[in-house]
Symmetry: C2
């Protein structure tokens, strides 16, 4: 378990970094094949381009459709990578993920179920199919910090927890971005020629929308939070914020519709100002925006009678609720 | 089951109303004794003064300390009524209420447990002790509307649900304010000489702080929401709003403290602009106020890592969450 040496965004020389990491990847993979999973986030997008630069077609890139992505996300991401010549194959694994998530309410158990399904089941099959011995992934330093500190178990951190991926899953993991934080990754992504829609893309968690429901992540509850997420992302698209999100609560609250009591659902909105996700404070959105958000959510998301806006800072809050 | 005829605040002649209702109370009670429970809210305060005017010492007024009142509330209210010469006796019934609330999470079952404990157990004993045949209470028209519509079962509505209090509890209920809404009651309270701290007092629900916790209302959870309520009431005291409150959620959310993960609690703040509680919208509080509230709550209320502000309107929300 080696200590990772941080490269700060200000000291990072993106061009040299890319050359160096591409050479390292070529050396490790040799004449073999590597695979990676693209989620569309800046980290995995950056690793995809870096791996493509290093290995060309010997990198097989998959988009795992786990059923917990946002509206239209699989198609948009595949299309975005077609332009620079990267072929991405969509793998429909919705049933695997929903059956693994069934009955689980604890956030850490949820993350663990997704991790196991992703790395063992879905990736296990892809590795067999592709003949790859290496998995490229976009772990960054903040993932490791938070996992080691015990704040959140990031889905992509193993070595630092004493897990040997070779032994556990049958393949080796290469993590070229592990010395960087989000701001450094953005510089590399830009240098790699990724469109700004990707390198300026808002962070989105590994467990995707399952991290956006408190309690069990069923197909029905994911559909509700997906709808609320679309509304929040539409309404806040022009806001300069680090990250914004909708969270479906498990608690029921009393509401009324058509003059009848409705014991309904609650959506929480979070919108964060932050530099590097280590500290954050709520964005001071105008009340007209908050009211528009609430009004659209209660009318467009079935069963929702109440909407809140998070006003606490990180710490003691975290960016995500789950 | 008779239809109640509304008296609007604008058409209300408070002085004449008081004369008329006092005469009615005297006629019904005759030479007997009546009792009433003072909660300190404008409705029960108004009924206490009206009953005192009608019956003098033949009205016995009790403050039921159910363990779910706000910080220092029993003492403050007894002191406030000492001035106009009304003696209020505090009845410690905390054990009765907490044992009735044990294990209950559904809002309507919670209300029902409080109703039963209040009217049957605690009031049953007081009626025997005092020899009273009549209970005066401050039911208003909105309570009846909401109960009949099935939105919320107000703790003090019986006749409209087909319940005969005489049969169910052993005493008759007199409701002199039943034609008024909140704004009308305030006019009567002012005319009766109640201090503005009472007649302008914010509405507070019958089930008190048990309506401010989602899920089970244990002693420990009530203590947390009581602390949060004090902070909200201190910080918003100068805000012109219809009502403000703190709500303890049952959902747990991820937070961090001392660099360690804390699966903590969430407090929701609601602050409503409204005329008569039938419709309401969130008060546009300055962000500096929201941040101050959040910062005090996460540091002063043990285990709370997240704070939200409600941004939905009524309908489809209701003022209270429970």
């Amino acid at each position: 378990m080696s200590q990772v040496k941080e490269i700060t965004a200000s000291s990072l020389e993106a061009k040299a970094f890319i050359q160096e990491k591409a050479a390292e990847i070529r050396e490790i993979v040799g004449s073999g094949v590597a695979i990676n999973a693209l989620s569309g986030g800046v980290d995995s997008s950056c690793v995809t381009m870096l791996g493509h630069k290093a290995l060309g077609d010997r990198l097989k890139t998959y988009f795992i459709d786990n059923g917990i992505m946002r509206e239209g996300e699989p198609q948009q991401i595949v299309a975005a990578f077609k332009k620079p010549g990267v072929n991405v194959e969509i793998i429909d694994a919705q049933d695997d993920f929903f059956s693994a998530l069934g009955g689980i309410t604890d956030p850490e158990e949820k993350r663990e179920a997704i991790t196991q399904t992703f790395y063992k089941k879905v990736f296990g099959n892809l590795v067999k199919k592709s003949g790859a011995k290496y998995l490229l992934q976009g772990t960054i330093l903040t993932d490791i910090d938070e996992t080691v500190a015990g704040i959140k178990r990031q889905h992509n951190v193993f070595e630092q927890l004493g897990i040997d991926p070779q032994e556990a899953f049958g393949y080796k993991i290469i993590e070229p971005l592990v010395q960087l934080r989000k701001d450094g990754v953005r510089k590399v992504a830009q240098e790699l020629g990724l469109p700004s829609s990707i390198f300026n893309r808002m962070p989105f968690p590994g467990p995707a929308l399952s991290a956006r429901v408190i309690g069990e992540a069923t197909r029905e509850r994911i559909a509700l939070v997906r709808k609320a997420t679309s509304i929040v992302e539409q309404e806040l698209a022009s806001v300069k914020a680090f990250q914004y999100m909708a969270i479906l609560h498990n608690d029921r609250v009393t509401g009324m519709r058509d003059n009848k009591r409705e014991f309904g659902q609650q959506i929480e909105i979070r919108c964060w100002d932050s530099i590097d996700a280590r500290q954050a404070r709520p964005t001071q959105l105008p009340f007209s925006t908050l009211e528009k958000l609430a009004s659209r959510i209660v009318s467009e998301v079935p069963g929702v009678v109440s909407v809140t806006y998070n006003i606490a800072t990180k710490p003691p809050s975290t960016m995500e609720a789950v």
